[in-house]
């Protein structure tokens, strides 16, 4: 009938090859299609190690770390680092707070809230390059509606992107306008997907709202926040469209972010080597940031889903 253990020769079963290969078969096409990008990447690395200005072909040579070395004492480089980082911190910080606030406002599933969520998404559908054009129109000191409106509250000489003191504010404002919806929609999705029980329990126990928010909502929302911040952070530090369309990095060097600097170096100054070196530094920053974030994200997600 039945025995506890049937002794026999142990046999080794293996997953058949097609089973073991399946995940590779599924994921490799995507990888293969993208992997080609490594060729131009490698070329760019090589460029960054050369003194290479297209208009001075006879001076082209390998200088290895030369381009990077000049960065150390180059105030333009450090200005770019500073501008890029402050742009990133301002935009992502404001967008996160604002996006979270709006998501909380629209958290409950009502007809109005759903419609409002889609409406708030509209700015995301306007290409940043076009959005910048739009804001340029609206901030024109003469006929721009925004200049007119701030004039009504006494700021008659507000110069938006054209004054060094308000240029950063202006581009950050545009970025916030365009990209807050992205964070908002992710966090809204997160809020609406949260399980109900902890909140119901907290309500029954009469736990104060602030405690619920900081100790329950926020930690449970963390994977969403991290994803939203990751995508925004890496896009913000690579900002190009808005700044280039608004001021091309000016006034002065006030808005000279990495990609604008690299673009100018490459396409206007033909300084291929220096441009590539700028971009390599940018790449390094994004690589470290994304690694950091993804590790944390995976850890948080594991925690949120419980063990195994």
């Amino acid at each position: 009938m039945a025995t506890a253990t049937l002794k026999g020769r142990p046999t080794l079963t293996r997953r058949p090859a097609r089973h073991r290969l399946l995940p590779y078969l599924l994921s490799l096409p995507a990888l293969l299609v993208c992997i080609g990008i490594l060729v131009p990447f490698a070329t760019a690395v090589a460029y960054s190690l050369q003194r290479y200005n297209s208009s001075l072909p006879y001076l082209r040579k390998w200088i290895w770390w030369g381009n990077y070395q000049t960065f150390l004492t180059d105030s333009a480089f450090w200005n770019t680092v500073y501008v890029s980082l402050s742009y990133t911190i301002w935009t992502v910080g404001i967008e996160l707070l604002l996006g979270l606030a709006i998501a909380l406002l629209l958290q409950r599933t009502t007809r109005f809230n759903n419609a409002a969520a889609i409406a708030c998404l509209l700015p995301l559908m306007i290409a940043p390059a076009l959005a910048a054009l739009m804001w340029k129109l609206m901030t024109n000191p003469d006929f721009g509606i925004l200049s007119y409106l701030v004039g009504l509250i006494g700021l008659s000489d507000f110069r938006w992107a054209s004054s060094p003191s308000t240029a950063m504010f202006t581009v950050v404002l545009i970025d916030v306008w365009v990209y807050t919806p992205f964070i908002m929609i992710l966090l809204l999705a997160g809020l609406r997907a949260l399980p109900r029980q902890p909140f119901e329990a907290a309500e029954l126990d009469g736990v104060p709202a602030s405690f619920v928010f900081f100790r329950i909502t926020l930690p449970m929302l963390m994977p969403y926040i991290l994803t939203a911040v990751l995508f925004r952070l890496l896009d913000a530090i690579q900002q190009f469209d808005i700044v280039y369309a608004m001021t091309q990095g000016g006034p002065g060097d006030r808005l000279m972010v990495f990609q604008v600097q690299a673009y100018l170096e490459r396409f206007q100054y033909l300084n291929v080597g220096r441009s590539a070196a700028f971009l390599m530094v940018l790449w390094l920053i994004t690589f470290i940031l994304s690694n950091l974030f993804i590790k944390n994200w995976l850890r948080l997600r594991e925690r949120a889903r419980g063990a195994v």
Binding site: M125, F143, F182, A189, R305
Partner: protein
């Protein structure tokens, strides 16, 4: 007590109004501008009272614009078409490539799996200019320069990682037992993938597709450098309205309005999936 609650409600309602105003007013204003002539737009101070004109739209659709220095050819409708071709083909291909890969990362623990996933994601984060510059030369060499295929390929760098990330999260949220049950019922792996996995992940796929469509549509720098006038999308094409005969503000406004329309329609169509679909596998559903 009751008054306290209604006080909070009033505050929240006011906050909602302010939020909507902030996001929608600029669009509303541009929408108004698109029905004004350049002269009306350039009035000082600006005003919301004007006799609407359709001339901006007529110019965009007819492809001709009368300006101070003669008539101007406008390829805007062609640009719009290019945008549609580029974005939808890119998203489609990214879905074909990305959904199976996302499924693999969500369902299987395999050697190098996480590495491949991270590598794919990291493509999204490489500075576009870094690869773009040498890419122009390589495209030249292999004959991909100024082709839709070349552009769509580069657009994969925008679409594919986003789709992978979101769809993978969504797959992880679906209990694998549902697929197991289907397999046990006697269905093949492929049938299970198409009849169970994909239909169940539909909200995630729809949300990811919509977001990556938006990002592809909004892309500027790839098209700027890689596309000829023939293939360029609206983002680059709209620059053409800055002309020697002055900046055609009304036309720019109309172009913005038109360029938003396809994405907006898509978003309205996919709205019920949008919030539901972005669950990212973060919380056990």
């Amino acid at each position: 007590m009751a008054s306290k609650i209604s006080g909070g409600a009033v505050l929240r309602a006011a906050a909602r109004i302010i939020v909507l105003l902030f996001f929608l007013f600029p669009i509303f204003w541009v929408f108004l501008m698109s029905f004004q002539t350049n002269q009306q737009i350039l009035r000082i101070p600006p005003s919301i009272f004007f006799t609407p004109t359709l001339e901006n739209y007529t110019a965009l659709f007819s492809g001709r614009l009368q300006t101070a220095s003669g008539s101007l050819d406008i390829a805007f409708i062609k640009n719009l078409l290019n945008s549609i071709i580029l974005s939808s083909c890119s998203v489609l291909i990214a879905l074909i490539l990305g959904v199976p890969a996302a499924y693999a990362f969500a369902r299987f623990k395999f050697r190098l799996g996480e590495n491949i996933a991270f590598t794919l994601l990291s493509f999204r984060f490489a500075p576009p200019l870094l690869v773009l510059v040498p890419l122009v030369a390589y495209f030249q060499m292999i004959g991909l320069s100024d082709t839709y295929i070349g552009l769509i390929w580069v657009y994969q760098l925008i679409c594919l990682p986003l789709i992978l990330w979101i769809v993978r999260g969504y797959f992880e949220d679906i209990s694998p037992d549902i697929e197991h049950a289907y397999r046990v019922d006697g269905h093949s792996w492929a049938k299970t993938f198409f009849k169970i996995a994909i239909p169940l992940a539909r909200p995630g796929i729809a949300a990811a597709a919509l977001l990556s469509f938006i990002f592809a549509w909004n892309n500027f720098v790839f098209a700027l450098i890689l596309a000829s006038a023939d293939k360029q999308p609206v983002t680059v094409g709209a620059l053409a309205f800055v002309t020697s005969a002055g900046i055609q503000y009304g036309i720019i406004a109309a172009a913005i309005v038109l360029s938003v329309t396809p994405t907006l329609l898509l978003a309205l169509y996919a709205q019920r999936y949008l919030v539901e679909g972005l669950s990212l596998g973060a919380v056990k559903g």
